[in-house]
């Protein structure tokens, strides 16, 4: 269906306007002298002209960037790193890390998930603070290289396929197919990625869906990092399970009472799908590139 393919594109090309500001205490050089211009007025310099990644330098310690929802922080912030490193002393620079309102941001979570979970009820742009010192060992994994991001991404894909197809589809692929999935994500190439990924969205003709649905449900109100369990897309009687069915089974507190006030938002890619949506359809169309449905349960914002 043409409409369904549009959904895939909309998900892939989702962007979040983000403002990166260098942490005050880490500014060690050029404090009195703005990096651009003689006075401290805001100047918009277009540093890069890639259509999907416009980078505006507002001031020397602040950058505005459109972040892809489906990617990872350390994969798309090279320009942020390079820009800020210019205004710091070499010896003060160690591994970059990001924080939002005091919460260190896990680079190995997709950007869209982090935003939906932590910042979706606040006004845009998303204000992220950039650090180069005091890496929070207890909260964040290190990201030593792009290879680490690739390894993490591929592992997630393999875990998803273990659930969907007992790993049969991903194991049958050649190494170059795996590479194409990664390169497609890294270079923001929808067609390149989906040429291979579509195979991971197929299922045997005699079935009505995947074996189990790869999903993770996140809440800021609980101690556990996320909920992930075995859940079939089709019931014994052949009925398709819905998003509501999943929540009722694995996270009943997320479902609001029928006649009560709406307390929670169930959010994927910044939208609230209807709870009647078949889970199999969601898995095929609203998964992240790692083939997982990353679902945020957040308090209903009070306007």
């Amino acid at each position: 269906m043409t409409d369904d393919k549009d959904v895939l594109r909309d998900v892939w090309f989702g962007r979040i306007p983000t403002c990166f500001t260098l942490y005050q205490d880490e500014i060690t050089e050029r404090e009195a002298e703005p990096y651009y211009g003689k006075d401290s007025s805001v100047s918009f310099n277009v540093v890069s002209s890639l259509p999907s990644m416009m980078l505006y330098t507002l001031e020397w310690n602040r950058i505005l960037l459109l972040l892809p929802r489906v990617s990872y922080l350390t994969l798309v912030t090279d320009k942020v790193k390079k820009h800020f490193q210019k205004v710091m002393r070499q010896e003060d620079i160690s591994e970059i890390w990001f924080e939002y309102e005091g919460t260190p941001l896990k680079w190995h979570y997709p950007i869209g998930l982090l935003f939906d979970l932590l910042a979706s009820s606040s006004a845009l742009p998303w204000n992220i603070t950039v650090h180069f010192k005091s890496f929070p060992e207890k909260d964040l994994l290190h990201c030593p290289s792009k290879d680490a991001i690739e390894a993490h991404f591929m592992s997630c894909m393999k875990e998803a396929d273990a659930l969907k197809h007992k790993s049969q589809v991903i194991n049958e692929m050649q190494k170059k197919d795996h590479k194409q999935l990664w390169m497609g994500l890294q270079n923001d190439r929808f067609d390149q990625f989906w040429a291979i990924n579509r195979k991971l969205m197929e299922y045997p003709a005699e079935e009505n869906g995947f074996r189990y649905i790869p999903f993770r449900i996140y809440q800021t109100t609980t101690e556990r990092p996320f909920i992930q369990k075995l859940f079939r897309p089709v019931a014994a009687d052949g009925q398709l399970h819905t998003l509501g069915d999943l929540l009722k089974e694995v996270c009943p507190s997320a479902i609001d009472p029928e006649d009560g006030e709406k307390k929670n938002q169930v959010m994927i890619h910044g939208i609230e799908p209807m709870l009647e949506t078949p889970l199999q359809w969601l898995s095929e169309h609203l998964s992240y590139p790692d083939n997982f449905l990353h679902i945020s349960i957040i308090p209903q914002p009070t306007d």
């Binding site: 190995h108 207890k138 994994l141 390894a151 993490h152 591929m154 592992s155 997630c156 393999k158 875990e159 273990a162 659930l163 007992k166 790993s167 991903i170 194991n171 795996h178 189990y212 556990r224 990092p225 996320f226 992930q228 369990k229 075995l230």
Partner: protein, 140 residues
Amino acid sequence: MAEEPQSVLQLPTSIAAGGEGLTDVSPETTTPEPPSSAAVSPGTEEPAGDTKKKIDILLKAVGVTPIMKTKKWAVERTRTIQGLIDFIKKFLKLVASEQLFIYVNQSFAPSPDQEVGTLYECFGSDGKLVLHYCKSQAWG
């Protein structure tokens, strides 16, 4: 990742049960079935029917990696993969700089902050989670 002291990991299940020999485990198939919720492994203290706070893990060495003398462990659900890696490295007397990789289903390496309880829920079979460990990358 913040990890508790290694003493949190319990005694090997075989010792707790009073026996010395480990149950010989037949090679795991790569098609896990959902774990039976009533399964109780030998050596755990929780009665059948309660949600077990600990899950059983079977560790298998890959390639030239040294083999753990004790392979079967009862582990808290909230223990992370990184915590398990640190424990195995200490047990095998590996240097801190040496790498250790852990694999599920002989196919993917879970994130270091992944909880073993979640992996057990999704990939456990016959009441335990089988994990392969290796000093080098075995399955990419």
